[in-house]
Symmetry: D3
């Protein structure tokens, strides 16, 4: 699919946004399309990545980086977002050092080879995604059985909610994953 919205021209970008983009290019070797699509709108770009960083790089959390990307991959598949499943599936494989896990949670997290704690985390995320108005005490209790407190529940919910936003923006705008993502984390380093 051709993206409906053209990428921002680097020459037109405000300094801070350009700097962010050059940094990610340096670090990853390519610029994920989400950066070049959101850069068309600087104020939204800044808010989007500030939100992303606030929840995905937050330090005092019971959720590992792998846990967080597992939530993102699961929710993005539930929302049928190709960009986010492929891009965050890649990051999930790397963080979990597991080349199989992303494909598993994307299709059915209930049978994936993950821990019972992760399954409970994903059950909560899936319910926040599809029926947040039905979340109640029993859902928090189920988390608590696996050591997740209320602040951890907030972390799970916030990641779910933020990527629900991201999924809708990517799908509506026809954003497709960079080819680099598909193979990342699949081939063992030798």
């Amino acid at each position: 699919m051709t993206a409906r919205f053209p990428h921002a021209e680097l020459a037109d970008l405000p300094q801070d946004i350009l700097a962010t983009i050059l940094e990610i290019q340096e670090k990853s070797g390519f610029v994920p399309n989400v950066f070049l699509t959101f850069a068309r709108r600087p104020a939204e770009f800044r808010a989007f990545f500030a939100y992303h960083d606030a929840i995905m790089t937050k330090e005092d959390s019971a959720l590992t980086k792998g846990d967080r990307e597992m939530i993102v991959t699961t929710i993005s598949a539930a929302n049928n977002c190709t960009y986010c499943v492929v891009a965050h599936g890649a990051i999930l494989r790397i963080y979990e050092k597991n080349p199989l896990v992303a494909d598993q949670v994307a299709v059915n997290h209930r049978t994936a080879d993950i821990s019972a704690r992760q399954r409970a985390m994903l059950d909560f995320a899936v319910k926040v995604n599809s029926a947040s108005h039905e979340i109640g005490d029993a859902d928090f209790d189920a988390l608590r059985e696996h050591g997740f407190g209320d602040e951890d529940a907030w972390d799970i919910a916030a990641i779910t909610a933020f990527f629900g936003l991201s999924n809708r923006m990517a799908s509506f705008s026809g954003m497709m994953p960079n080819p680099e993502f598909y193979l990342m984390g699949r081939v063992p380093r030798s």
Copy 2:
């Protein structure tokens, strides 16, 4: 319902967040609960309201402020979010100077007393909310019949996506509307 997460203590807040909260109090006469709930997490507070402002106060848009709040009210009702329906329904009544419109779009935007252009805008928003992966050319064409271009479609989608995030955070956390919102914009000024 009692909110599951206690409000932030004003005394503990960073300066910028405290300033934002005092300003809204000054302007509105009360502090909407969404501010005091998100203030528990300063980084998320800043990103949330930066995103909100980027899309809700953006100047070069075909969407009026009333249009935007109409999207918010409609989507929040589809997502069963009490806080957002009541709070944004209030703002919608004020911007549209119409005491009836919020209750109408919250139940069924298809029969509300709004313009055909607004109905098309809400149809697009509702589809982004419930099935963004099925958005296609026909949906953009339907907008175009009412003068909405691709950038306007982005505005509609961004508001829809952001309040999908907001709805999930409010519902999951048991956030309830301040009592002040319920009556706002209902009684004609004399």
Copy 3:
């Protein structure tokens, strides 16, 4: 929206129906549109209001008048019926002497500020509305924990079923609420 079916002409009405309509006008100060729409069909008018009265004014019931209107408002919102949510939300506010409750149950009865007994009542009503074929012993047991016996269950089911009929007739025919309903019960009497 313009109602698809014109109101009955008072001059054409049978005596008993005219009398009913004049009485409600006297009592309420206006004639709710449901009367003038159904009056187009006298036999249906008589049966509709006989049914309504049989279940809504029934005396030997564990359900208060406020309970009954709370069921109506909740179910009508689930069925996206603007007329019934607005009109019966008004009556609910008056009976419960609570200006906030109608907007709360219309969006999400699970988090509304109502009693646990009322929540159980609405849970039962919502299931009769959406999946009556799955109602079983467990549902009656859940009612019983709050003191509702089988006859009370019948009352809840009958109100739910009758307003399911009413919702469909109002929505299909484009019936809109009289403007008077929107503000009723919202402003405290001084």
Copy 4:
């Protein structure tokens, strides 16, 4: 299944209800369970059958008696109501003089051996049943192509809405069809 609510005792019934029941017994050779269940509540009995008669025996209608029972059978199957599918399927077979039609519309009216006009009638009924809030001009236009005017649309909607009520009452209360209904209209008279 055993019905949850015991049948009314004939000895306890008001005269008019007893008369109705004796008449149906005389005419049909048995008393359908819906009469004996509703008779427990005389006011509801009277309103229920008055409504039934108002729409099912109405004379000036484009809908034949067979058409009406076809709507009832289709809608009752969509709502998973065993009593109504079996009882009204029987009456449908008799009115249409067609031993196959009831089983066909109960499973999938789209492929049943009925007229295009009847298919359009059932399409409208099915939408009123499942999504009355989405009924719009296009639905009335589709009826009009087959000669159905607005009053006919009302007839279809009223039958759909009334049997939605009936389905919920029968299913919630565990009402089962009398054994007599299952074979009625299936064996050609010789």
Copy 5:
């Protein structure tokens, strides 16, 4: 409905398929349409009926022949397949020697006059049909309470899965039941 795909011509059929068809005609007095439709494609015909026989005539199973046809009828109704509901409903009535059971399970197996063991069997089948990815330990445990082991669960799942295939082929191709099926097993032999 007219079937979209013409029946195979007997003269064109391979020997083995012709033999199968003549045998069923001899035994039943007519050739069910499913034979003549699949015979258009000999390789698929052979595989289809081999699969059918493997699961429906398997000897070492806790499921009686009546149990198996009860699963088929229930699942086929859930999938809105007219051919399979009518044809297998007929066989179910015969095996169970019960003229009422097929119509009951087709509309709502939860309230049908069947054993608690059969209800558990159908609950499992219905979940395999609609949400096989959510099947978990609790579902196998529920079967076990009624004496069904893992191999019985396989039998139930295999029948459900195979008739899911059959339902889609019949519905997509416009296959309708032979008239003979409708009355089979309904009239007591004298």
Copy 6:
């Protein structure tokens, strides 16, 4: 996840089944779990693979082998079957010589980089999978616009229906993909 049903012991297998398994091992270098799971039941094994071969290796078809695996991958994702998405996604990548296509159609075939003809083919398959009872002339016409005749429609429907069976058997039984599948077709040969 641990598969709920143990693999068949090779030593116990009938000759023909053992031969099939050794052949696939020879050809692929490993034995896909579906063979070892179904081998527990020889009659079902034979029928399953006979059906598979009848539709997947059929020669006179407008569908290429890549087209067929694309249907399988898309439908298996819609049915949340991890085994089939991973195993057939691998084969799809190989047949299409496209390392990206499987991940794309698994998440959202509407935006995948495939031909308009393939998108129409998948639209038809998705509808047969989720609502075969609503398939009608318009669906066949949409296929015809891309050169697919009625026999091609049968091919698409048969593949969809057969893998619906396969998906349910794999998910219900806890079958997981062999690790070999995940990387197949992803790394360009050098």
